[in-house]
């Protein structure tokens, strides 16, 4: 007798049979929240990849002069620019891109016709900054201009900052979506709690009559809703997690990735972040149920 009643001791509210509509709503909300969270993680990681790929790199472009013989002038200015770069502290190495590499860069836009080979293409110099070193870019640009008047220096800062803005935009939009989902979840739980209070009115008023403190009644409800929200949101987040794993694996089954678009899959180490969704849902349900019950009990004599 005692053992069996002890197990049931905390159960003030009857267990609901079947999946309540609230569980379905929370499950779907959690699925969407996990998608938004996953997209923010992908955007963040992609921005970091782009940034680290471009940071520490300098590109010098030597344009063909407007008049005169192009090739000798290009050769002279390119050699001068390489000499300036190699003489600059902090620069690890500077390589001139071969004609073939340069052709490959423009191929996607201009094609690979023989005609293209005759176009006066600029020379590209790719310089790498030693890790941990900094280079005074404006001063370097001035010295390059002096040695090779037709050269331009690009440290990709404009590109990086635009990519960062784009990624930040995606991340903040995802946070906005998460906030909306949190509000919707809280409203759904508040609504369900009120319905639950209505449905279990006889229990609540009896406990109240017997001298139960508001906190005791609130605990029964918050437990009930927090646990079912946790379970429902875990299912939703797990489905979203599976979707991210599947999208990540698409290229292995032969679906070609779109150029320039980051892979939409999450890495295994990123998946635990999705646990925040059921935990967050549980906390939202907990707090909302508690506040709703306490507010309702204040209206009883």
């Amino acid at each position: 007798m005692s053992a069996s009643t002890q197990k049931r001791e905390s159960r003030i509210l009857p267990r609901e049979a079947g999946a309540a509509p609230l569980d379905v709503v929370i499950g779907v909300m959690a699925f969407l929240a996990a998608l938004a969270l996953g997209v923010s993680l992908v955007a963040d990681r992609t921005a970091e990849t782009w940034r680290s790929g471009l940071a520490g790199r300098l590109t010098v472009q030597v344009l063909p002069p407007d008049k005169g013989e192009a090739e000798p002038a290009l050769d002279r200015q390119t050699n001068a620019a390489v000499a300036v770069l190699n003489g600059t502290g902090g620069i690890l190495h500077a390589n001139v891109l071969s004609q073939k590499d340069t052709m490959a860069l423009v191929a996607p836009w201009l094609g690979e016709d023989a005609l293209v080979a005759e176009l006066p293409l600029p020379r590209m110099i790719d310089a790498t900054i030693a890790p941990g070193e900094t280079v005074d870019v404006p001063a370097l640009a001035q010295r390059l201009k002096a040695a090779a008047p037709d050269s331009t220096l690009d440290d990709h800062s404009r590109w990086i900052s635009r990519l960062k803005d784009l990624a930040d935009g995606i991340v903040w939009s995802a946070y906005g979506v998460l906030a909306l989902i949190a509000i919707a979840t809280a409203s759904a739980v508040a609504f369900a709690t009120r319905a639950g209070l209505e449905a279990h009115h006889h229990i609540v008023s009896l406990l109240h009559q017997m001298g139960a403190r508001a906190g005791f009644v609130a605990r029964a409800f918050e437990r009930h809703y927090a646990l079912s929200a946790l379970a429902a949101a875990a299912v939703g987040a797990a489905l979203a997690g599976m979707l991210f794993v599947l999208t990540g694996g698409l290229e292995f089954v032969g679906v070609e990735p779109v150029p320039f678009l980051p892979p939409l899959g999450l890495k295994l180490v990123e998946l635990p972040w999705l646990l925040a969704v059921p935990l967050g849902s549980g906390v939202i349900a907990w707090v909302t149920a508690r506040l709703s019950v306490l507010a309702a009990l204040r209206n009883i004599y």
Binding site: M1, S2, S4, T5, Q6, R8, E9, R11, L13, P14, R15, H202, I203, L206, L207, H208, Q209, M210, G211, A212, R213, F216, Y301
Partner: protein, 223 residues
């Protein structure tokens, strides 16, 4: 200890259900509340067990003026009152044992400390073999006995019972009244609302009679 001074009660903007009610219940007294149906017995009990506030007048409970008592102190006052509701109000998803144990749980006691007491009490009301039964599987009389056991298990300072013997045979009725008497001997103030004149005749107790919302009769039975 318990006093009503010019208490009136109306629900919303309806007519007054209770009018100019003034009486006192001494600590440790045993009182019957009688009167025809619709006279306001249940409303009077509700004022006593703090289910409704009076529309006017002064209610003093356990020497405290309710009008000036903080709402936070009400749960503690309610825990000093045991109530047998006319419709029992048992929780259907809990066993007879769990229903009876609820006041002790609300008082913060642990099951291992009260389990034996609850079982003994259920034995006493003849439900020793129905400890785990849920209320829907119990007969009306059995449910009533569970409700009574729940009201008395915490040895309350005030016991209020609304028609507590309505669903049991006369023998069990007498047995339950003896249970109330036993509780009363240990100091509990008892107030029982009933139609059953036979209960009054066999018990030496005061009677308050309610007619049309007024207390019209105050007398001591068999005094």
């Amino acid at each position: 200890m318990i006093r009503f001074d010019n208490v009136g009660m109306r629900y919303a903007s309806g007519p007054e259900v209770l009018r100019d009610m003034s009486f006192a219940l001494d600590p440790g007294s045993f009182t019957f509340l009688t009167g025809p149906s619709g006279a306001g017995k249940t409303t009077l009990l509700k004022l006593l067990y703090l289910a409704e506030p009076p529309s006017r007048g002064l209610v003093t409970l356990f020497d405290r003026d309710l009008a000036t008592t903080r709402r936070n102190d009400f749960p503690a006052l309610r825990r000093r009152i045991g109530v047998v509701f006319q419709d029992f109000r048992l929780l259907d998803h809990l066993s007879a044992f769990e229903n009876v144990a609820m006041p002790l749980r609300l008082a913060g006691r642990r099951e291992r400390d009260y389990a034996a007491d609850v079982e003994e009490l259920l034995n006493w009301v003849g439900l020793g073999d129905r400890l785990r039964a849920r209320p829907p599987t119990l007969s009306g009389g059995e449910q009533q006995r569970v409700a009574i056991a729940r009201a008395v298990v915490g040895k309350p300072d005030l016991l209020i019972a609304d028609e507590p013997t309505g669903n049991v045979d006369p023998d069990m009725g007498q047995r339950l009244i003896r249970l109330f008497g036993e509780l009363n001997r240990f100091g509990t103030t008892v107030l029982i609302a009933t139609h059953d004149r036979s209960l009054l005749e066999k018990t030496r107790a005061r009677e308050l009679r309610l007619v049309d919302g007024r207390l019209v009769e105050l007398r001591v039975q068999n005094a």
